[in-house]
């Protein structure tokens, strides 16, 4: 059965060496980070050698519901420190959802207005959540995907440059640094330094770059692997197919040991499987991350493979992710359950 690995202790976001449970905090921002690791054991039944484990870091436990709380807080703090963000300014960025939610959350706590440019086809739940945190959504052409949102955002800022502070998650080193300072140390600590492989999906590249750099600084032999959609046209919300996208400035492929392509439909089915037997409902990028982790882990005699589950799945229930669900449950699930629950 699935087990929470080592500890589900939660503490403020400074990722100190000796975390203590955060029994009470005075700001939602203090709940960012220190997310638990879940060992995935059932959907991998019979696939891995005994000395191989796969652990998923459950970033849905962040207060904004995703891994993006970390870079959002880091980028806004860096903007304040540099004087680029100050009273009277508006935080603006292009985002298909999770970063927008995170920026909206941090902006709400810190008292800054937030405007977010997103393709009009992001999920309804995300748009509503952003508005619930007091931010203003601005919609771009859904046919032009996230690159279209980036262009619209640039145009808005160009028309009124002094009004805005743009965290620019694609080009802001504070994005990757958030993971160097928090995600990486947490994984190192939670695995007692036993992590051998780290995998993360690439959207901006911040998670895989920052976490990977930290882990390699502790042990150069740790393999750092990116996960990406297998085609330019895909349904893995949050992930980018790098070969056909605007490559983020913070993404440096030469620092990676490998890159694994994942098909959308396969990732969707892994999401269904995780709900059925591991008791965890996640988004499609988590399904892709786990598939890639399994591909890596199957080739190992022993190892500790850690991956990131960027968010939970509640915000995708109205999306295309669940279109094929009933056919899968009818045609595939019965035989899979026999394997998972012998």
């Amino acid at each position: 059965m699935a087990t929470i690995f080592q500890s589900s202790l939660r503490s403020p976001a400074d990722a100190s060496e000796n975390p203590v449970p955060a029994a009470r905090v005075t700001s939602a921002l203090d709940l960012i980070g220190n997310t638990p690791l879940l060992e995935i054991t059932k959907v991998t039944a019979g696939l891995l050698r005994p000395g191989v484990r796969i652990l998923a870091k459950l970033e849905g436990f962040n207060p904004g519901g995703s891994v993006k709380d970390r870079p959002a807080l880091s980028m806004i703090r860096a903007g304040l420190e540099r004087g680029e963000l100050r009273p009277g300014k508006v935080i603006i960025d292009s985002t298909s959802g999770n970063t927008g939610i995170a920026l909206a959350l941090v902006g709400a706590v810190m008292g800054y207005p937030v405007e977010l440019v997103m393709a009009a086809n992001v999920s309804r739940e995300r748009k509503k959540t952003i508005e619930a945190f007091g931010a203003k959504p601005i919609f771009s052409d859904p046919l032009e995907s996230s690159d279209g949102a980036i262009r619209v955002c640039r145009k808005i800022i160009a028309e009124n440059p002094d009004r805005y502070f743009k965290p620019d998650q694609y080009n802001n080193e504070a994005n990757a640094r958030a993971h160097f300072e928090t995600t990486g140390p947490e994984i190192w600590r939670q695995t007692h330094g036993q992590v051998t492989h780290f995998l993360a999906g690439i959207g901006t590249g911040g998670t895989v770059m920052g976490t990977g750099r930290y882990l390699k600084s502790r042990n150069r032999s740790i393999k750092v692997i990116a996960v990406e959609p297998d085609d330019a046209l895909h349904g893995l919300e949050g992930l980018k197919h790098m070969a056909t996208s605007i490559v983020p400035g913070i993404y440096h492929e030469n620092e990676l040991d490998d890159k694994i392509p994942i098909g959308t439909e396969d990732a969707y089915e892994m999401v269904y499987a995780l709900g059925q037997v591991e008791g965890i409902l996640v988004g499609q990028s988590s399904g892709a991350a786990l598939l890639a982790a399994i591909k890596v882990a199957r080739g190992l005699k022993e190892g500790c493979v850690v991956t990131i589950f960027p968010d939970f799945g509640d915000k995708y229930l109205s999306t295309n992710l669940w279109i094929g669900w009933q056919a899968w449950a009818r045609e595939r699930l019965p035989q899979l359950l026999k394997k998972w629950n012998p």
């Binding site: 992001v122 996230s146 901006t204 046209l233 959308t264 295309n320």
Partner: protein, 92 residues
């Protein structure tokens, strides 16, 4: 029947960069076959192994999602507008 098809960025490598192409057919299914003839590679991106529209692809006929019409058998007429829209926005 000649229709206009709006093509999303990730598929424009099959249309030499064009945002909109003309296609012929009596139904969405035959329009996709015509697209494949003139822009090889499109069908595989739009339809799965069973010949059904991939889950992460939305096709709109004059603004209506064909999943709420007659799916691939939805009839088209001269001058109709078809849009292919990825179900998600990519990037974070």
């Amino acid at each position: 029947m000649s229709v206009r098809v709006r093509v999303p960025t990730p598929l424009r490598r099959f249309t030499a960069g064009s945002e909109e192409v003309a296609a012929a057919g009596e139904s969405i299914k035959s329009v996709i076959e015509d697209l494949e003839r003139h822009h090889p590679g499109m069908r595989e991106r739009l339809l799965d192994d069973k010949g059904e529209v991939r889950r992460f692809v939305n096709i709109y006929l004059n603004g209506d999602d064909i999943r709420f019409l007659d799916q691939l058998n939805s009839r088209v007429k001269d001058g109709d507008d078809i849009s292919i829209v990825p179900a998600i926005a990519g990037g974070r």
